[in-house]
Point group: D2
Chain length 281, copies 4
């Protein structure tokens, strides 16, 4: 028997041959997968109006095009902060009105999909739910773009099959996101697998973005890995920014302060230019 | 920053100190976690009345106490057989009536929990959903025992925290199940981690069973690893049995035929005796 | 391209077909690979005459047939104790004379092979040297049996190819030893891969033993995993025993005290009997 | 017990604090670890005078500063091509005379160190020998720079401790090289861990280079990952180039043809410029 992880499953819809020119998604005027690298930034978790607005204005000023922020938070421990839930979604929408930034936020339960769709511009499926097939089917039935994060121990085959689930239900707006895989290494939270960028681009026609915050777990490693992701051909980045990381309710250690983020955006523009890609300023 | 996988999260409810004598669950008269090893067996997927009944009678005759069978099947590919769904649940109940065997079956979606609860004696949470926190919370609210399989790349800490989610909602009937972890090795489907058996028994008070079928991926490896699991101190086993593995709609390569299963049960009785445990015959 | 770890390399000499009945090695009268399980025990590192003799007498009284003890120690840090070197070899030989126990000890350098051959009955190649091909070739040229430990991240294919190197030079006395592989799990030192036991027995004709001390890293996990190894079909065990683990210069945390070792031997006899194997008493 | 892979070993000599300004090595006039990125290129294995000279001239014309080529080849199978050995070393020296390129080549056995030192400008320790402590000690006693490749499953701690072994013997000319780690992913030969670049630079004062050829296993992935390595802050690259990859005796699938390599060097110059580093042309 071939082990399941080796088997070559057939992909009908997300494979590169199905759309050789590649997919470019339009999210409220922001093109993802095109000639410009799209940076999505914001706090790990939505905590308050002030926190969210301050951060949103800062990342927008630095050139980010999409605001990220978790309202429903998947946490290893039931005793950790679980997010502001619908109140968090409402804050995201208020900040979108204020800034014009489209928002991406996570959905964790099939029963929440309708609710989150009302508020979000992009639905995020987190790593732990990459093979939550009921949830994949459900977001496959809605018409919002889906940012599908790679599972911690998902092979490239399994990852593309998860995207195929969404496509098969009729939703062809999927963005892939490499966010680090689980390995034996303990000095970093995960091992960011940048091999995945060219591999996913070759195997599928979907936009591929990279999350160096979860991929490293250390704020000081985010800039070099973000630059590397752009150099490797990523279509975008997902970066955690918090104006007071030490007080963050989640993932403070891997969050950049706004000034560091601004500096990083300049560096990314230089690297983007070197590989023929623009980044909005 | 400590990476999340290293952090020592506190366990309030499932840790050994909370119940030093250990938990023994009673499932329709079958004691799990007590002096007798409980074997749960049956097909990976429920396929038909004939398949299920034939298999159930065979495993019962050999000494298994609980019937397993998937009605909702999590499959890597959307093009693979996804299970008979509610029809499968109905077949399980009919076979339970016929044989008296309690049934364990998987639930994959928060919206199905109520339905599956009506049919099943034990709800199974599959590996891919071990950190589907919405689902953990939902099964935490019902009163049926939950068989929680370890995630493919879940640390012991994360695994126990997942059980803690269920307890925290009020359901204290959780069975742990080591089913193989994902490693670099490709000759087996997963790497069965029997270290987990004494570690989980020491850290928590919950019954711990082992699934050598998924843990190896090869039917001929199931007997030696099932024996090993008993020798390592497992409270039970979950074993795939199919009367015609080559025609199985799922996981045929790792399913034992009834006669091999009967032979294995004899071997398990001998090993059980060596470690002071009984197995029903 | 197939990645190297997937490629199916051909084995000419160590594959099961080359000797379907299996290899039984005779080491100074001790049969390895036959109907009796052979336990090799002793301290991680040879530290002194008293330590070694006391331990040897204790393990012999409990039924162990071969004495293990490191004279040349591979240590991650250059500042850790590196072994007594030739003085350690001399102590091993003196204790062999006193007790009659054959000795197994590690060789780390091609230039030491001749020296270690003069003293040892079995040469051990450690995990970190499993693909030290110069060393494999060198021990292949001598006539002493070789205990080849599996590399921390070696696939079954690579492991058997390493044994093939030794055979190809003319030495057909190789014992395989599963000792845990490196995975994401951090609660144990390694993940003992008992899947490897039936897989190696099926693929090759060589005796297969298991080292639960390195495979777990915790002394209290050694008994359950040692029992499991026997139940899975191992031909022997390699177990660290120290009469004062807290003062051990290496690996104290995973060493059993002699009384616990004696208790374990009794348990192993019971499990051995259950699977049709004897253990000397 | 803390598992060995977690323990925080102390580094005396290679840690960043020992030399905050960082180490710049001078290899026959080529500065490694300075403001210029150094590209080392050439065939996996030295095969013939023509092959080596042709390749050397091509990579030199494209801007590479150091010639790589294996004379002693570590191969998983004893039946694979094992290298031209001393004849290969002689070819390397002849090509160095012809081109002026310093050469880096692997040493696999303590007994070969003296010989290889006579020919090579940089001694390479391969991944499989990263914890061959006898070999580390031996190259620590010679005065040639050592390119120490990271082991396939070595943590950052273990890797730096291996470098510490070399330093402790008196050789302070060590170059680190990330070359991919072993993970569950099977679509690539290894998982290139670019997290390691900033982590190694922060923890130690040694130059850090990256090998995208072994790190990916596919020639078409080498350019994006080489660019990424430069963007992440690597001090250099090690790249396999072969003028006829399909006929290569080793690693053809991951070797670039000279024209692709020339194109890559142009791209690297652009990325280097973006991060403030030069690359010779």
């Amino acid at each position: 028997m071939k082990s399941e992880k080796q088997t070559n499953f057939s992909l009908e819809l997300v494979n590169r041959e199905a759309k050789p020119e590649g997919t470019v998604l339009n999210v409220e005027g922001v093109q993802i997968g095109g000639p410009e690298i799209v940076v999505m930034a914001g706090p790990c978790a939505v905590e308050s109006w002030e926190q969210l607005l301050t951060t949103a204005e800062a990342i927008q000023a630095a050139g980010a095009r999409i605001l990220r922020g978790g309202a429903f938070k998947p946490r290893s421990s039931p005793y950790s902060f679980q997010g502001l839930k619908e109140e968090g979604l409402k804050l995201l929408v208020r900040v979108r009105k204020e800034t014009g930034l489209p928002v991406v936020t996570e959905v964790m339960d099939t029963r929440q999909v309708e609710l989150v769709c009302e508020y979000a511009d992009i639905l995020q499926i987190g790593s732990r739910n990459m093979q939550n097939f009921a949830l994949l089917n459900e977001v496959g039935l809605c018409r919002k773009p889906v940012l599908l994060k790679r599972g911690m121990s998902a092979t490239i085959d399994e990852y593309l099959l998860a995207a195929e689930y969404i496509f098969k239900q009729g939703n062809d707006k999927v963005i892939l996101c490499e966010r680090g895989i689980r390995t034996f290494e303990t000095s970093t939270r995960n091992t960011l697998d940048l091999n995945a960028v060219p591999m996913l681009k070759r195997r599928s026609h979907l936009p591929v973005i990279v999350d160096p915050s979860h991929g490293t777990g250390h704020w000081w490693m985010v800039p070099p890995l973000a630059r590397a992701a752009v150099a490797a051909g990523a279509d975008g980045l997902l970066i955690e920014v918090h104006y007071d990381p030490q007080k963050a309710l989640s993932d403070g250690a891997q969050s950049l302060k706004p000034d560091k983020f601004g500096q990083l955006m300049k560096e990314l523009r230089a690297v983007g230019k070197a590989v023929g890609k623009g980044i909005s300023s």
